[in-house]
């Protein structure tokens, strides 16, 4: 019999059961969508990084002063000695999450093949070079910059998103970097004779600037996080596919037998089945990619905002479709189908021609695997433990996380089996004894779906605990950190001085909040100057400090550093830190500083102004009764003309900070819910699979007197019980996950360790949600059972099987 007839016979199954086909396609599409959606997010961000840096330098090496800026005069002396270099100044404009990376270039000397050189003067040189100058940005970025106090922004489609380009002089002024350069691009063509760099500019070093790599390193944790979620979702989606394929194979066993009996070779049958799967994979893959695109497009604005706000990398919230992405999506769909369908295909290929169709064999085969699973689970748990003790770095942390989750998933069926055994022992009636024993017997068929549920629940608990702990800590920390009731930015230093005098004359305490952006140990960071005041002594969130910490800081002998810098530099109270200017200072204490990945050093105001005389003296905190803050702001506006938007009261600032925080975790939350939804569908498909196979076991129970309605209720109850057990098992897994996230991954990724808080209310809600999902999934098979014609049950006994 020909291949096409065999395929036709096989495909007829899906016409009879369109819902099953839908489940299969949907499961596969979901798995592909979540995976490729996350990949798209990552790819988009990475592409932005690469684009942003190539805009200015291409792939050329640069001259930098490690941990510092380059004096413009050094540039001129290098040029006048023959070095063909081009100056670049870079920094951030705009505020918070609307930050845009600004590159200032000199188009006359910039490498000609870079985007920047082409664009800086695309609209006439005089307007670009002479005050007020001009900014060039992609339309999205330009739109985001609208409303900022900047020179006119010109939109250009051809510019990489997330960055702006201006003439170097204009950029220096906007960035407050007059006379300073960030790096010098070394051009390809150099003259015959150049004095050595060491003679001309001893402090400068030559290196390859790989912004894409730098930014990628910075954001590694974020992308790993997303990837882990994507992978988890993919795995969960595959459980659905596995369920659907298993069901279809089981239901078609009689057909396989018939086809084989009619003379179809096993090979032809296997090939036909494989082509069927391939067709499903292609269909679902395409659907999944479209879905994935939609997911990515929906999430990207938040991802982009997070990346900008948290890490300060230039990314826009617009998605480009990349061909590689389509290919990867289809490939992953086919790979997933292959994974999910391999077992079924293998079994079919080895099916003896005249083997009776025994649907239960599929489910029963799982029993022997239980022991192997338990052993594998123990091994993986040991690996996770070893990684806790020995591993370091983000990849190790995520590997640990993966090992833990897979170990937990593998351990679930043996654990559930043991638990059900215990319940069966305690059973009082024959009916309950049958219920527990039968439930245990269902376990192999349901275990994959339950594992999916476990993973989804554990991820929810883990990530939920992390986010909630973070939120709680963050809110408390904000209370400490934002001790002043009113924050004011004056427009000039002189206005700042006048305002201070005016406020002090009214008996109010004014706390300068002055800072300079500086390179700290070669990475961007900030140095703050603070007044010696009880506000800091009482409130500042110190994690570790030497005695008399504030006295030492006030005396200009010591500095405080933030936790991330302390961890990165392995610094403790008593260590020393080097500022770009002046003698090193002792580290007197370490404070927590959430939501900021960069290093921070805090010194006394006197130390700051002495070492950085040019520091802007325009930001102040004012201690005033909270209820008087708004009235005071009005008075200040009246007296000094300082616009209201230059003043923020504590409450608004907190609200804004919390809002930034919440938006940061929107993506995490969305992926969490999607994962749980996918797990629910996995349970449904598994139950449906089992329902059709279970008649031979239910028929005798029905025959001894249990009504169909009672049986249906028991079926539903079983789903609920298993979900409840799984939820209970998920709790310790989730909490361990939370611990890894808070104590290992956060430290690796951001440089701060967060205390773990427990939220039992959330667990109960989540448990109920899981039971609800299982109940909904079990409802349909139960209703089908309740409505089953008695004749179908009777027929079981007439069947030879």
């Amino acid at each position: 019999m020909s291949y096409s007839i065999t395929l036709g016979a096989l495909l007829s199954h899906w016409r009879v059961r369109p819902f099953q086909a839908l489940t299969l396609v949907l499961g596969l599409a979901l798995a592909t969508a979540l995976w490729s959606g996350v990949q798209a997010l990552n790819a988009e961000a990475r592409a932005s990084y690469a684009q942003a840096t190539s805009v200015v330098t291409g792939t050329r090496p640069v001259l930098v002063r490690e941990g510092g800026v380059i004096d413009e005069r050094e540039y001129v002396s290098l040029r006048r000695a023959g070095w063909q270099v081009s100056p670049v100044v870079e920094g951030w404009i705009g505020s918070g999450r609307s930050r845009v990376k600004l590159f200032g270039i000199d188009a006359l000397t910039a490498p000609r093949d870079t985007q920047a050189a082409t664009f800086a003067f695309s609209d006439g040189m005089a307007g670009t070079m002479l005050s007020p100058g001009r900014l060039f940005a992609s339309p999205v970025t330009a739109a985001r910059l609208a409303g900022e106090e900047l020179p006119p922004v010109h939109a250009s489609d051809a510019l990489a998103p997330g960055i702006a380009i201006a003439d170097i002089g204009i950029a220096q002024r906007l960035l407050g970097m007059e006379g300073q350069l960030s790096h010098l691009v070394i051009l390809e063509t150099q003259p015959m004779v150049r004095p050595p760099l060491a003679d001309l500019a001893p402090g400068l070093t030559q290196r390859k600037i790989d912004g894409a790599e730098d930014l990628a390193r910075l954001t590694d944790s974020f992308h790993l996080n997303l990837t882990a979620f994507g992978f988890l979702s993919f795995a969960v989606g595959l459980f659905i596919v596995n369920g659907a394929i298993g069901l279809a194979f089981e239901q078609r066993r009689p057909l396989f037998r018939t086809l084989r009996a009619l003379g179809v070779p096993g090979r032809t049958l296997t090939i036909a089945l494989a082509s069927e799967l391939l067709a499903f994979a292609l269909l679902a893959g395409c659907l999944g990619i479209v879905l994935g695109y939609l997911i990515a497009a929906a999430l990207l604005p938040d991802v982009a905002a997070t990346l900008r706000g948290l890490y300060g990398v230039p990314v826009e919230g617009t998605l480009t479709i990349r061909p590689a992405w389509w290919a990867a999506g289809l490939l992953i769909a086919m790979l997933g189908t292959a994974l999910a369908g391999a077992a079924a295909l293998w079994k079919t290929a080895r099916l003896p021609v005249l083997a009776p169709a025994r649907p239960r064999a599929w489910a029963m085969a799982g029993h022997t695997a239980e022991r192997a699973q338990a052993i594998a689970a123990l091994g993986l748990a040991a690996l996770a433990g070893a990684l806790v003790l020995l591993g370091s770095g983000l990849v190790a942390a995520f590997a640990m996380l993966g090992a833990l989750l897979i170990a937990a998933a593998l351990a679930l069926p043996p654990l559930l089996s043991r638990a059900l055994q215990l319940f069966a022992r305690g059973a009082k009636t024959a009916e309950s004894e049958w219920f527990w024993a039968d439930t245990r017997q269902q376990l192999p068929g349901l275990s994959l779906a339950l594992m999916a549920l476990l993973l989804a629940l554990a991820a929810n608990i883990g990530v939920g605990t992390m986010v909630s702990s973070f939120r709680l800590t963050f809110a408390g920390w904000l209370d400490q950190r934002l001790a002043s009731e009113l924050y004011i930015s004056t427009r000039t230093d002189a206005e700042g001085a006048a305002l201070t005098a005016w406020l002090e004359a009214r008996g109010l305490t004014v706390l300068p909040i002055w800072n300079v952006d500086a390179s700290i140990d070669g990475a961007p960071g900030t140095i703050y100057g603070v007044a010696d005041h009880a506000t800091y002594r009482d409130n500042w969130p110190l994690i570790d400090a030497s005695p008399d910490v504030w006295d030492k800081v006030a005396a200009g002998e010591a500095a405080l550093i933030n936790e991330q810098y302390a961890r990165r530099g392995a610094l403790r109270p008593g260590s020393t830190v080097t500022l770009p200017v002046g003698d090193p200072l002792e580290v007197a204490g370490i404070y927590s500083d959430y939501g900021n990945p960069e290093a921070q050093i805090l010194v006394s105001v006197a130390t700051l102004t002495e070492r950085f005389p040019g520091v802007e003296r325009q930001r102040f905190g004012v201690r005033v009764a909270q209820e008087d803050a708004n009235a005071l702001a009005k008075e200040i506006t009246d007296a000094f003309g300082i616009p209201p938007e230059n003043m923020t009261d504590q409450a608004s600032l907190k609200r804004f900070s919390i809002e930034v925080f919440e938006r940061t975790f929107t993506v995490t939350g969305a992926l969490n819910i999607l994962t749980l939804g996918v797990a629910g569908i996995a349970i449904l498909t598994s139950l449906l699979t089992l329902a059709t196979m279970r008649l031979p076991q239910l028929a005798p129970v029905w025959a001894v007197g249990l009504t169909r309605a009672r049986l249906a209720r028991l079926e539903l109850l079983r789903a609920l019980v298993l979900a409840a057990f799984t939820a209970i098992a998920a709790l310790p897994v989730g909490l361990t996950l939370a611990w890894i996230l808070l104590a290992v991954i956060n430290v690796e990724a951001f440089g701060w360790r967060l205390p773990m808080h427990l939220f039992p209310g959330d667990w109960i809600k989540l448990g109920l949600l899981a039971i609800l999902a299982a109940g909904l999934a079990g409802l349909w098979p139960a209703i089908k059972l309740a409505r089953l014609a008695p004749a179908d049950l009777v027929r079981v006994f007439s069947n030879e099987r």
């Binding site: 070079m129 002479l130 003259p191």
Partner: protein, 350 residues
């Protein structure tokens, strides 16, 4: 329009080389508050050796014909252009001045060139009249006065270090340095020092060469963009064996015909005679393909008023300045009623 092209337009605006005058429509004559050349102005040195910020465009242009001890011929070029976006100077990047340098070395079979750009206001390029110091990056023209300067420049494959000395006064073109360029009277301030003796070293890919010879400095500034549909210009700066110097230039229209010509005859004692339009003629005898275009490399020139009728032939046909603003600039030899050598500059051969 990129920066370099923009710069070029400004430079070209002095001689109005563009095929289409409309391109410059946005920059009209005497627009933007720039000063205009004034026929009553009398040049004064050393001040006029320095920059003229009130004018839009200005250059310091040196070409030299050199010979080594084996009798091999060389030519070198050292040029500094100043261009301003506004008629003012300033410190820092906000200065409206930009600078461009061109350097080249030509031998019978090699032509190497290099260009540099610099912003004004930051010290990367500039000119000081006394002691004379003109520089862009590491290229320099430096001496106690403009009559005694050391001139250096280099590219990735060549460098030179030359001493230039002149004991003759500077030569004023046109009417005491007020040089009319077009039939409708647009002009520049223009003087030269065509009497430099040169000695020094050239470093070329096949090794160094000790050379001696003569050099010619052109100084010119203006603010105008010239009117009319000129296609380009051909400029001859010739040092004749009798000690005379000839500057002859013609503006070309789109068809290649002479639209306007000017000439200055400098006797060996430094006596200057300026000739009006039409006195000097130049006609191509032979073209050759250079950088993908047909460029005349043999000329018939004539200044009947001085009995001059000669053929001018390029030392190296391929002296093409492959810079952002590309043109032909190279050493030439003169034969006929007079013999000698010099430099030829040809622009607008698209």
């Amino acid at each position: 329009m990129n920066a370099r092209r923009w710069f070029i337009r400004l430079i070209l605006s002095l001689w109005a080389v563009s095929a289409s005058a409309q391109v410059f429509g946005s920059i009209g004559p005497s627009a933007d508050g720039f000063a205009q050349p004034d026929p009553a102005y009398r040049l004064s040195f050393p001040a006029d050796h320095g920059p003229h910020p009130a004018f839009r465009i200005e250059w310091w242009y040196v070409t030299a014909n050199l010979t080594d001890s084996d009798g091999r011929n060389y030519g070198i070029q050292w040029t500094l252009f100043r261009s301003a976006l506004a008629p003012e100077t300033g410190e820092g990047w906000s200065s409206p001045e930009v600078w461009m340098g061109h350097a080249a070395v030509t031998t019978p079979d090699l032509h190497l060139s290099e260009e540099r750009f610099a912003r004004g206001g930051i010290g990367q390029a500039g000119v000081k009249p006394e002691p004379f110091y003109a520089w862009i990056d590491e290229w320099r023209m430096e001496g106690p006065t403009l009559s005694t300067v050391r001139m250096t420049a280099q590219g990735s494959e060549f460098s030179y270090d030359l001493q230039l000395t002149a004991d003759m006064p500077f030569v004023m073109h046109g009417d005491a340095g007020y040089s009319v360029k077009t039939p409708d009277g647009q002009a520049s301030h223009y003087y030269s020092q065509p009497f430099y003796d040169v000695s020094g070293t050239l470093n070329l890919p096949d090794g160094p060469a000790e050379v001696t010879g003569t050099a010619w400095l052109d100084r010119e500034w203006s603010s105008d963009e010239l009117s009319g549909g000129f296609a380009g210009w051909d400029w001859f700066g010739l040092t004749l064996d009798g000690g005379e110097r000839l500057m002859g230039a013609r503006m070309r229209n789109a068809g290649g015909a002479t639209a306007f010509s000017a000439a200055t005859w400098i006797a060996s004692d430094g006596t200057v005679t300026a000739f009006p339009d039409g006195a000097f003629t130049a006609a191509p005898l032979e073209t050759t393909e250079v950088a993908g275009r047909e460029v005349p490399v043999r000329w018939r020139i004539a200044l009947p008023a001085r009995g001059l009728e000669a053929t001018v032939v390029a030392l190296n046909d391929h002296a093409w300045m492959d810079t952002s603003f590309s043109y032909w600039e190279g050493p030439v030899f003169v034969s006929g009623s007079h013999t000698g050598r010099g430099y030829l500059e040809m622009t607008g051969y698209e």
